[in-house]
Structure formats: C-alpha cells, structure tokens
Amino acid sequence: MKTSVRLSLVASAALALTFAMAAPHARADDPGITPTSIKIGMIGSLTGPAAAWGWPTINGARMVYDAVNAQGGINGRKIELVVEDEQCAPPMALAAAKKLIHRDKVFMLHGGSCSGSILATRDEVLANEVPMMILVATMDKIVQEKPNDYIYRAFLPGSFDGKIIADFIATMPNVKRVVVVGHADEHAGARYGTLTEGLKKHGVELLGLETIETELTDATAQVLKIKDAKPDAVVLVGRPAASAVFLKDAHRLGLDVPMIGATVVDLQDLADRIGGTDALKNMYVVAVYKGPLGSEAMTPWQEMLKKYYPSDKVQASSFLGTSGALAVVEGLKKAGPDLTRAKFVEAMNGIQNLDGGPMACSLSFSAADHDGCRTGVMWGVRDGKIVVIGDRWKN
Amino acid sequence: MLDITGLRAGYGAHEVLKGLSMRVGKGQVVALLGGNGAGKTTTLSAIMGLIPSQGGEIAFESNSIQGQPAHRVFRHGLSLVPQWRELFTDMSVQEHLELGAIACASRGDLDARVASALDYFPELRAHLGRRAGTLSGGQQQMVAIARALTARPKLLMLDEPSMGLAPLVVRELGRTIKRLNEAGTSVLLVEQNMHLALGVASYVYVIRAGKIITHGPTGDFHDEKELFHSYIG
C-alpha cells in the first residue's frame, strides 16, 4: 500500500512536471496589446558562442524603446520587452520563439543574432503571422526568401555587402584579379554569392577562396598562398579576431595589396586589436554607421547608450540593432492608436526614407521588399585616421 | 607489536575476513599460512590500509592504525612487499631503492640506507641502472624487498615472496629473511610454501575462510602434511 501511494506520488509528480511545460491556451484578439502597453519579444544570444553579439546589440536596440517609454510611449502605450536567450542554437531559438508567441503572447518579435538559429524560427513566425524585426542576423534568405509578409530587417544584409565590395573593386584602378579570404560559416557564406557574381559582372577575375578558422591563431599559410597567386586586391570576409590575425600576418609577410573588408569588421576595432594602423594602410571596409565611433554623427547614440546602459562597453557592435528599433517605433506610431498586427505590417510597408539613426542608410520598406537598408559606406585609413571614403557604391 | 582482534574486511559487499585475530611480537618472524582465497592477502591489505576494514581492531605498538590510509600506516614503520611486487616498470633499480625512502623523514642518510639494503642483495649492485621491467622474477623480488628495506621498517610484511621463484632462490630468500630478523626487523610472512615458512618462522597462524583456525609455535607443527590438510580442509 505504502509503495503504491509513493508510486502514485511519483506518477503525479511526473505528470505535473510535464504539465509545467503546458499551460491552458486562450486566444486573445490582439495578442500583446493593452491600452497601456505593447509587448515585444526579443531573442538574442545572451549566452553561448555568439554571446559577444548578444547583450551589446540587444541593449543598442532596447535603449530606443527605453527612450520612447521615457517620453510616454507610443499612442499611450509603453513598450514592454520580454528577452529570451537562444544561445545561438537553433532548437533553443525555436523554443524561445514559440514561448514568446504562444506563452507570452507578444505582439511582435525583435531578435536574432545568429543567422542559423533565427532561420530555424522563420517558419514558426510566418505561420503565426507575427511581425518580426531582425536584430543583427545578416543571412539574406531570412528576409528575402518568399513568401515573407512579416519579417523585416533594417540594416545591411550580407548579400549587399558582397555587392558593394564588388562594385568598389570595379572602380579601383588596376585591380583585375582578387582573392577572397573568409570563414566557412553562414556569416561569410551570405556574402560570397553576390560577391562572386558582382566580380564576374565587372570582369574581375576571382583567383580563389582561402579558408580561415574562426579561431585563427596564425595566417601564414593563407598569406603565403595568396602572395603566390599575385592578386591585385584581397577581399576579407572574416570575424574581427580572425581578420586581425590575418592582417597582422599579411603586414608582417609583405602582402601589401589593397584589402577590402566586409561589415563584419570595424576599422577602429581592428586597429585596437592589431595595435596601430600600420597594417591597415591599404585596408577598406564596408561600414554601416554614419561615422566612426566618437564622430559627431555617432555621439547622440553613444550618449543614449551611456544613459540607459552605463555599464555596457561602447563598441562597434553596440548600435547594429538600433535602426531596427527605430523602424519598429516608426511603424507603431504610423499604425495608429487602434493597433493590430495587420495595421503594423501595413505601416511598416509604407515607411520611406526614414533616417537610420546611427546607420548610414535611410530605411525604406515595401510590401515586396522587407530589407529596408541598402546603403553601406566605404571607410579607409588615411594618415593613421579612419576616414569615410564615400557611399557611391551603394545598391 | 602488531595486534589484530576480530578483523573484518573485504571487497565491497563481499566480506573476506570474518573476525580474524592474530599478533606479531617484537623481533619475531610470524608465518600466516592458508590456501587460495583464505584471506591472506586481504589480511595484509587491511593492515596496510589498502582496503578499508569493516570491523575489529588493528594496533601497532599500542597505537591503533585501523582505518588509516597506506601512506600513514607506512609512517608507523610497517612495510608490505606485495605478492605482485608492484614495481615501477620503467624506473631503474637505483631509483626504486631511493624511492623506498622517499617518504621517510630523514633522508640525509639515503646512501647509507641504499647501501645497507644492497648488503642483503649484493646481486643487485650489478643491475642498478636497469629498468625494473627487464629484470628476472627473482631479481624483481629482490628489488621489491630492498625497496621496502630502505624505509627501515620495524615490521616487514611479505606476501608470498617465494611465488614463481626457483627453489634455489627460495632457499636464498629464507636465509635473507633470517638475516633481516637477526638485524632487528620483525617479519610477517604470508606463504603457501610451507617449507620456507616453517624454516624461518617462530610462530605460525593458519587461516581458512577468513578466520584463524589454528596457531602455535612452529615447533607444534612437525608434520607438514598434516598442516597442509588442516588448511586445505
């Protein structure tokens, strides 16, 4: 008898455990909306291998919502955020999205630092007709694959990056042969397609693709191999640390052709890592911001971050999510006081030439095109200083 | 000097010693005889602290050493030369001798300790540089005993030292044990080789199924055959 009591206890505990995962589901007409609040779910890599892109980018977006709330919110509604971790792992990201959509019943989502994991949530988001603003994931097909009526992006997607680089190279005198150096990950993969296409279109010969590890300790083999190929320029599609290692070794081994970096890296950050701009003399980088950190254009945003998140380090990745939040705020404002998801989507599709905040681009969305940011700026190093070279290579 | 009363020990749930009592007096050579599986090695392992004992009492020079780990038991002056010798195969004979005294407080007289150990086994002098793994069985046994001797134990416990050795070597071993004893070391000898045991021991215990079934001065055990049958059962 005693054991059977114990047994039923255990059985009910097991059931309760599983029930804890379950919850009664009731459908609200306007999920996530009350007269005084709008609930937005944020997903980011707060822990795990991409944690460096987690809190910095989230807080860069969050500060915009904080500022809006400080001014009384949008149409009387304050923005309420629920932040979930995805650990850069697709199953976790999918769980986070499902939790936010079905359990927390958010009005919309804003998130995604890892392309791979946010891609896993795509079907779920579209099937539930939840508007979503991408945080920093650059892979094209997250937004550009059809059908997509709900997912938006407000910063430069990877493919534009590749195209801008190709166009830039086409305008460089005497550059006919280039080598591409980069990782074998989805981050770099997003760029290779348009890059090779663009180079082909401009009649620039692509000599080869050299792989670097994300945890590169040394690039001697790659640099020597590239020197052997005698390219006129090198395209570098690497994460900051690996790029720094590559550039340092290229400098040491006398590979002094022009190098063009993707948006993944930031010149100031590279200079900090390498310790000086010597190795960057011939380096150009596609930049997304209006100016380098500390420049006049960036000051208000840096101030804003310091105000709301004083313990955050101001770094190149800090403001990547800011333009997305600005677009969301604009969409919510335009959607009017009787907010619904459909109205919000309609409002988003109507946004034209909205200032991208820290971003160099202005944001324009349409029903057919949800990638709102298409302009990148070329930065380079002149006399040890980072200067803006121009933006005429935009789309 | 060594007093064991009601010792119970074994491996996990399997109890091998079921209340074993025996003693070794100062300056004595005591033999513990018994068949396979009687609990001879278990007794030595329990004394030495290699396995935990589950009951009873082990005292050495009136101090309880029960429950102490091997390295603590060692410091009381007990050394065990195990059945499988447990040499360091890749280390030289010289290193073995030095290692024997490595845990002793006074290592200033290391050379003297090594030299006096070698006095018992002059044959080893020729092999000081050789790795223990390359020595013959008899030489390995010598290294094992010599290693124990450099610690200058008060009580030396030998677990079947004759195992696998040629008769001539066994006879030599018997003489060495006697010399050791004359130099003041007490010896607890565990053996299946009755001839050797009765030749050197002054007192004999017979163990069967984890208990002492009979004991007495060696003189009481004239008939080896009878003694043999007593523990084979």
Binding site: A51, G254 | P69
Partner: protein, 297 residues
C-alpha cells in the same frame, strides 16, 4: 625563404600544441583519463593574465606568474572537487571507472566555459604582447617576437619538466604514482596529493600556453576548444608518454598543418587534428616518437 617562414610559424604553433598536449599527457599518464577540461584551463590562464595586465595594470611577467600559479591552484581545486570524489568511490569499489571521471571533465569544461561567459562573454578582448617590438628579422625572415618567446618558454619548460621528473623528489613520486599507484602507496606516497600536484602542474602548463597564445589570437570563452583537439593530436603523436615525445608531436603537428594549409588546401587546417588523432590511434597507437606508454596496471 618561404619555407623558413612557414617553419618558424609551424614550430611556434607546434610548441603551443605541445604545451597543451603536455598538460593532457600529465593527467592521462597519472590517472588514465583524457582531461576534456584542459582547453578551458588554457582559456582561464589567458583570462587571468588579462585581468592582471589589463584590469589591474600589473607588469607582464608578474601577471604571467600570477596566471600560471593561479591556474595551477585552480587545477588542484578541480581535482579535489570533481575528480577525487569519483576516484574515492572507485577505490571503495562502489562506482564506475575512468569514464565517470571523463564525463566529469566534460562537465567541468562546460561549467568553466559558462562561468567565463558571465564576465567576459559580451565581447572579445585583447592581451598585449610581452615585448613592445612586434617583429624581428632573422636571416631575412620576419618573426613575431611573441613566437620567439613561445619557442623559448616551451624549450625551457620542457627541459625543466624533464629534469623535474628525473631528479626532484616530487617528480619521482609523480612518476612512481603514474606507473603503479599501489606500489606508490606502499612506499608511503600519499597518492591523492600526487594527483592534486599532477593536476596543478598540468593546469599550469595549460595556463602557460594560454598566456603565450593569447596575444596572437584573442580572448574569448571558447578559445580553448580548438586548442584541446590540437593538444590531443600532439599527445597522440607523442604516444601519451614522454615529455619530449609530446613536444615533438606538437611541433610535427604544427609544421605539417601549416605546410598542408599552404600547399594543399587552407580549409584542411581545420580538420587536421581529428584526422591525426584517428590515424595515429588506429595505426600507431604507441605514437610516432617511440615513447613507452606509462605502465598502468
């Protein structure tokens, strides 16, 4: 010229692999387990040095020392907290075996990585090099001073550790314990303390590699994962036995890797370590450098 450049880099990378591998070999030969948390000790060493140099502003070599000693103590603590309880169970005949310890080291690796993310997960960090001069030119080959330091430290350390094992009482006790724990107990060696000391020494080796490598790469909680595989490969080549064997294994690994990357395909460099591990363990389980496997019964 090009060959010389490749060699110089391959050699210094190999020294790092060798150092990491050495830590693995020390623990393996004493307890018969591969320490999956070793990469995280490498990482922790780099971060401790970072804390000392960048956050506390201490001089480089003092910070180096702090990192090595600190991580050594940490290795000891880990052994005491996570490994010893399992070995105690084992000696009681109660639990499992080495696999339990292996899984514990896997657990430790995850925990250490997770802990490192709390303060340092938000961005990548930089450790300054030991010398302000970045490169020197020797015979027309530009070599990073940090790489020279790596080779020098590794050589000194290898000699020091070899001497330590041959001469020092603690080194002899460690060897004795590794070869025969029962025999060691019988001559009064407190084997548990020896395991702690072994972990401390192994962790210190990992920390040294971490501090040396950090200026060349970057500081990140995941930085140890790749290094662990390369250290394993070095240890396999060296036969999991001798100090010089693992160093030679590391150097071979570093040199072959860089030449393969240069002359075959750079994408190969990522996969070299696991291939070496598989080939060596399957076909030359004694390793290439004839090191005797530490005898453990």
């Amino acid at each position: 010229m090009e060959i010389a450049t490749l060699l110089s880099v391959g050699l210094s990378n190999g020294c790092l692999y060798g150092l990491v591998g050495l830590g693995l070999v020390l623990v393996y030969s004493s307890q018969g387990i591969p320490n999956f948390a070793h990469g995280e000790l490498f990482m922790a060493g780099a971060f401790l040095a970072y804390t000392a140099i960048v956050l506390l502003g201490l001089p480089y070599f003092l910070s180096f020392l702090i990192a090595v000693v600190g991580i050594g103590l940490m290795g000891m603590l880990l052994e005491w907290l996570a490994i010893r309880p399992i070995s105690l169970h084992r000696s009681l005949g109660r639990a499992s075996s080495e696999v339990a310890i292996v899984l514990a080291t896997v657990g430790l690796a995850i925990v250490l990585k997770g802990l490192a993310r709390i303060p340092w997960g938000d961005s990548v960090r930089n450790l300054p090099t030991a010398f302000t001069t970045q490169t020197v030119t020797i015979g027309g080959v530009a070599i990073a001073t940090q790489r020279l330091l790596i080779v020098a430290v590794t050589l000194v350390l290898t000699v020091a550790i070899s001497v330590f094992f041959a001469r020092a009482p603690l080194g002899k006790k460690m060897r004795a314990t590794a070869q025969n724990p029962t025999g060691a107990k019988l001559i009064g060696i407190h084997t548990s303390n020896i395991y702690s000391a072994t972990w401390a020494l192994a962790a210190a080796c990992g920390a040294i590699a971490g501090v040396l490598a950090a200026p060349l790469i970057f500081l990140h909680p995941d930085m140890g994962t790749r290094m662990l595989l390369k250290g394993f490969a070095a240890a396999c080549l060296g036969g999991f036995g001798s100090v010089t064997g693992v160093l030679l294994g590391g150097v071979l690994m570093g040199v072959v890797e860089i030449f393969a990357g240069r002359y075959i395909a750079t994408s190969m460099m990522d996969i070299f370590a696991p291939i070496i591990i598989i080939l060596v363990l399957l076909f030359w389980p004694q390793g290439l450098f004839g090191a005797r496997r530490a005898a453990r019964v």
